[in-house]
């Protein structure tokens, strides 16, 4: 959604909403902590709070890829964890596996693999078998994934998201402002 559309007037027949300002990203992007794909000093930033088991996130995944391809070096894409565990029983564990892969320098490979194979969530044997093909140390991945080594980090992402107004998954922030439009590439590109 273009910046100009983030402030708008909306009316109901009785209850009236005044000027609406979309929430801001309260946890700034940092190269040291965040998972960043693209140039760290790129002029445009797209942040996603996502859940690996969420079908809408799965549908948004190729759209983000299209956006990245279109904008190239102008865009940095940031992914933060927001597993809705009461609806998606495997989401938090999937996030743990992705974070464990990050410890081996392969976050994005695992992130992409999980979104491309959402049907495998809950089947660790299959995921770990594929992790070996991605060049990961499977034993370490399994240990860290099973021992909740990175659970605190995931909860930090989640709590930061709540404070920034994440309202479901996926939630995107375009240059620091919550994006309320559709997660289609053409709409995201327009907003960026």
């Amino acid at each position: 959604m273009p910046q100009s559309k983030t402030v708008r007037k909306t009316r109901t027949s009785d209850a009236t909403v005044g000027e609406y300002e979309s929430p801001k990203l309260l946890i700034p992007v940092t190269i040291e902590r965040d998972h960043v794909e693209g140039l760290s000093n790129a002029p445009l930033t797209l942040v996603e709070y996502g859940d690996y088991q969420c079908p809408y996130c799965g549908a948004a995944y190729p759209e983000v890829k299209k956006v990245q391809k279109e904008l190239g070096s102008k865009l940095r894409f940031v992914f933060r964890n927001f597993p809705i565990t009461s609806s998606h029983e495997f989401a938090e564990h999937a996030a743990e596996i992705a974070e464990a892969a990050s410890a081996q320098g392969k976050f994005w490979k695992m992130h992409d693999f999980l979104y491309e194979h959402q049907d495998l969530l809950g089947d660790d044997n299959s995921i770990f078998a594929c992790a070996g093909e991605l060049g990961l140390d499977v034993q370490r991945l399994a240990e860290e994934g099973m021992n909740s080594t990175y659970l605190n980090r995931i909860k930090e992402d989640f709590n930061g998201g709540i404070r920034s107004g994440v309202n479901g998954t996926p939630t995107f922030y375009v240059n620091g402002t919550r994006y309320n439009g559709s997660p289609l590439a053409k709409d995201l590109l327009e907003a960026l």
Binding site: S13, A15, I162
Partner: protein, 176 residues
């Protein structure tokens, strides 16, 4: 920096309040609404504790479902403030029961069904002609006074940040 940004954000949200919705400082109208076919919940039941009231247009609609699932996910955050959360729509109790079971909701859904929308009207969030309430949030303090209210645009899930900031402010006031 985080704190100042949050304050600024909180201010911008306060400024979006409508003329119809009850505002901070108003006494929260009491109600007694069914949460099961034979059980009513009254606002007075929670006197002495903060209460979060979530008015939403309809069971089963996509935005409402996301919104309530989110609150369900962060019940522990509300508990930190000893706050009770309850959601209200004009749907009948049987729809509420099925919806709650399907989404595994752990807080009560109240049925503003008969007289239709009466409580929503009392809070200034009923939409005549459409026959639903708006997507509105209220934080009521332990004395039954509204300490924060917010009406979200149709189709926009308001999230939980405003609620948690309001509960924090309440907590800070109580301590000072």
């Amino acid at each position: 920096m985080l704190r100042s940004t949050r304050k600024k954000h909180a201010k911008s949200r306060r400024e979006t309040k409508s003329s119809g919705i009850l505002r901070a400082g108003s006494k929260a109208p009491n109600f007694a609404l069914n949460t099961t076919p034979d059980q009513k919940v009254s606002l007075h039941d929670f006197h002495g504790r903060p209460v979060v009231l979530v008015f939403y247009p309809a069971d089963w609609s996509p935005v409402c479902t996301d919104q309530l699932s989110l609150y369900n996910e962060i019940m522990s955050e509300f508990k930190k403030f000893d706050a009770e959360i309850m959601a209200i729509s004009v749907d009948g109790i049987w729809s509420h029961l099925a919806f709650s079971k399907d989404r595994k909701l752990t807080f009560p859904l109240l049925s503003d069904f008969e007289p239709k929308g009466r409580v929503s009207q009392d809070y200034g969030v009923y939409k005549h002609g459409i026959g639903e309430c708006g997507r509105a949030l209220f934080v009521v303090d332990s004395r039954g006074i509204i300490s924060w209210s917010y009406l979200s645009p149709d189709g926009v899930n308001p999230g939980a940040d405003g609620i948690l900031s309001a509960l924090e402010n309440l907590n800070n006031k109580t301590k000072s």
